[in-house]
């Protein structure tokens, strides 16, 4: 049997929760090589190699066929893999890593509650301010799809690779699309989520190359990960 490559986040909450669930099912992971190696072996299932990657690389590795299955955030999976791409599928939503991808605007925009309000503003923004409304985000594709589905077109995306919530205060953008768990970072930055501004209720997921979803090794890993945390 060929080796199955199982991509796992190399650190953080997703890695810890997944390792614990696998460990409880008797599927401990031995990291190979140096102390914090980026390869590992799974105890309990033959022919599975674990690749420790950053969560954002995992979706790309699945899409490229470099990994057969992996644990990552649903937000990253949907951002990196277009909805009509059939080669990768979401097999299981996991009971951890929950967070929302949201559209947020400055709290001082007292007249803005909904995407329809945002659309209204976007349309006149160019005339009033001589430029397009800017949306800072690392979720370029999720943003485009969500805005397009709601008919909002008069904006432009400013790529943001960190501290997106600071973009409005820094004058880099007016609006942000970002991930939030408790909303406290948004509140601290005087930003509010639009009434209908939740793009995705995300969680950690187990995603798999569609072609390999019936593989018994995949099924066993899925069963182990399906348990409550």
């Amino acid at each position: 049997m060929s080796i199955l490559t199982f991509a796992m986040p190399s650190k953080g909450r997703l890695m810890e929760a997944a390792s614990e669930l696998l460990g409880r099912a008797g599927l401990g992971i031995d990291r190979l090589g140096a102390e914090r190696g980026y390869r590992g072996q799974l105890r309990g299932i033959e022919d599975v190699e674990v690749a420790f990657l950053s969560a954002s690389e995992i979706a790309q590795n699945l899409r490229d066929g470099k990994a057969d299955l992996g644990i990552t955030g649903q937000d990253l999976l949907e951002e990196k893999i277009p909805p009509d791409e059939g080669s990768v599928m979401l097999l299981l939503r996991l009971a951890f890593g929950g967070a929302d991808v949201v559209v947020a605007v400055p709290e001082c925009w007292l007249d803005v509650a909904s995407m329809a309000d945002l659309d209204d503003i976007a349309e006149s923004f160019y005339e009033r301010h001589g430029r397009r409304l800017r949306v800072a985000t690392k979720y370029r594709n999720l943003t485009r799809r969500f805005f397009a589905a709601r008919g909002v077109t008069g904006y432009r995306i400013v790529e943001s690779l960190g501290a997106t919530e600071g973009a409005p205060a820094a004058g880099i953008a007016e609006v942000i699309v970002d991930i939030t768990t408790t909303g406290s970072t948004l509140a601290a930055n005087h930003l509010k989520v639009l009434d209908d501004g939740v793009i995705l209720r995300s969680s950690a997921v187990l995603a798999v190359r569609t072609a390999g979803r019936e593989d018994p090794r995949v099924q066993r890993l899925a069963a182990a990960l399906a348990a409550p945390v």
Binding site: P106, E123, R132
Partner: protein, 379 residues
């Protein structure tokens, strides 16, 4: 396929030489706008949906540039940089590559576009008919025989809206949403159901604004909650929108018969020369009557040029995806086995030059031919 063979290249070039020769013979100046363009004009003008399909890159100085996604905007830039008075009449044609990330299997990422742009024409109806005539002549010169012409007319819709009694801001929002049939219908529905009825997280604030001076309420709220003023909008702008929302609540709902009338107009479709009785059944008043007259004159001009509008199709909702047009719009589809392929389109876009810096609106009509699709159809 990575490139064209000599035979394929030769076939496309011969076809395109036939197209452009028609435009040149008609007196259109054959220009070559820049392929590499400042990205801002496209992106600020078109928004994120076009940006998603445009090849954008950064020059060593940090400026955002792009490969032109179409040739209309580059032709406008050419005009603005070569002509002292942008309202002076000029007739241009062009033939050259344009670039877009593909969005469907049919569309290649680089393709050759032929087209013409007529700025500052003195007689608008005549210019519209003539541009359609030239597009058809060029396609026929290239060998196209079986095709279907569809057109629309945003002027008719705009006139009907102007004739419909409602607050000016509602009209403006409906006009803006014309491009999105779903949003348009929802908005129209909300106006006839009674404006601002829907509850939202800002409804309580709207209630307060309804009872007092909007700007004072906004400033008090901002200072009471110590909200930093970020996002580039001043309290005045925010207060004005809240005041509009409060006014919407008090407004008499739009007469449902009027909403039905607008929807009925948008559903009109049929043979282009016999459609006036349908317009008549819609009603409207002075402005709509004026737009009907304009439509009839355009048909007359088409006939004068030897076109047969009885073969053309009119659809009131046509052009709802083509945001920069302002009046007449048209599209030509080649008949192919099992369907149709859009090979050319065009229309009137009177706001583009002024959006790009001309001091006042300049009438503009143009067309673009997708030469690679045409070639595929003719092969």
């Amino acid at each position: 396929m990575a490139g064209r063979s000599s035979q394929e290249r030769d076939g496309l070039e011969r076809q395109n030489a036939a197209l452009i020769a028609v435009f040149e013979r008609a007196g259109f100046d054959h220009i070559a706008p820049d392929i590499i363009q400042p990205a801002d004009i496209f992106l600020e003008r078109s928004g994120e949906d076009i940006r998603a399909r445009t090849f954008v890159f950064t020059d060593p100085g940090g400026a955002e540039m792009c490969l032109r996604p179409d040739l209309t905007v580059p032709a406008c830039r050419y005009h603005l940089s070569h002509v002292e008075d942008p309202s002076a009449e000029r007739r241009y044609c062009y033939l050259g590559p344009a670039f877009r990330f593909p969005d469907e299997l049919l569309s290649p990422q680089e393709f050759t576009q032929a087209g013409l742009e007529w700025f500052g024409a003195g007689e608008p109806v005549a210019a519209e008919a003539r541009v359609l005539k030239l597009t058809i002549s060029a396609l026929e010169a290239a060998g196209l025989t079986r095709y279907r012409v569809t057109f629309g007319d945003l002027g008719l819709f705009s006139a009907l809206l102007d004739d419909t009694e409602m607050p000016a801001r509602w009209r403006q929002r409906l006009r803006h949403h014309f491009w999105r049939p779903h949003a348009f219908r929802d908005l129209l529905q909300s106006f006839s159901a009674g404006g601002g009825a829907r509850q939202s997280s800002i409804s309580p604030l709207v209630s307060r604004v309804a009872e007092a001076d909007a700007l004072a309420v906004v400033e008090a709220e901002i200072s009471a909650r110590s909200l930093p003023l970020v996002g580039g909008r001043e309290p005045r702008e925010i207060a004005d929108r809240l005041a509009d929302k409060a006014a919407d609540r008090r407004e008499r709902p739009l007469d449902p018969a009027k909403a039905d009338q607008l929807n009925a107009y948008l559903a009109i479709a049929g043979e282009a020369s016999g459609i006036d009785s349908r317009f008549q059944s819609i009603g409207g008043s002075e402005r709509f009557a004026g737009a009907r007259n304009y439509y009839a004159r355009r048909l007359f001009e088409m006939e004068e040029l030897g076109l047969n509008p009885r073969r053309f199709h009119f659809a009131a909702g046509f052009g709802r995806e083509l945001e920069y047009y302002t009046g007449f719009t048209f599209q030509i589809e080649a008949d192919v086995d099992g369907g149709a392929v859009t090979v050319a389109g065009g229309g009137r876009y009177d706001n583009l030059l002024s959006d790009m810096g001309a001091p006042s609106p300049v009438p503009a009509v143009g067309c673009a031919i997708h030469t690679d699709r045409l070639r595929a159809v003719l092969l």
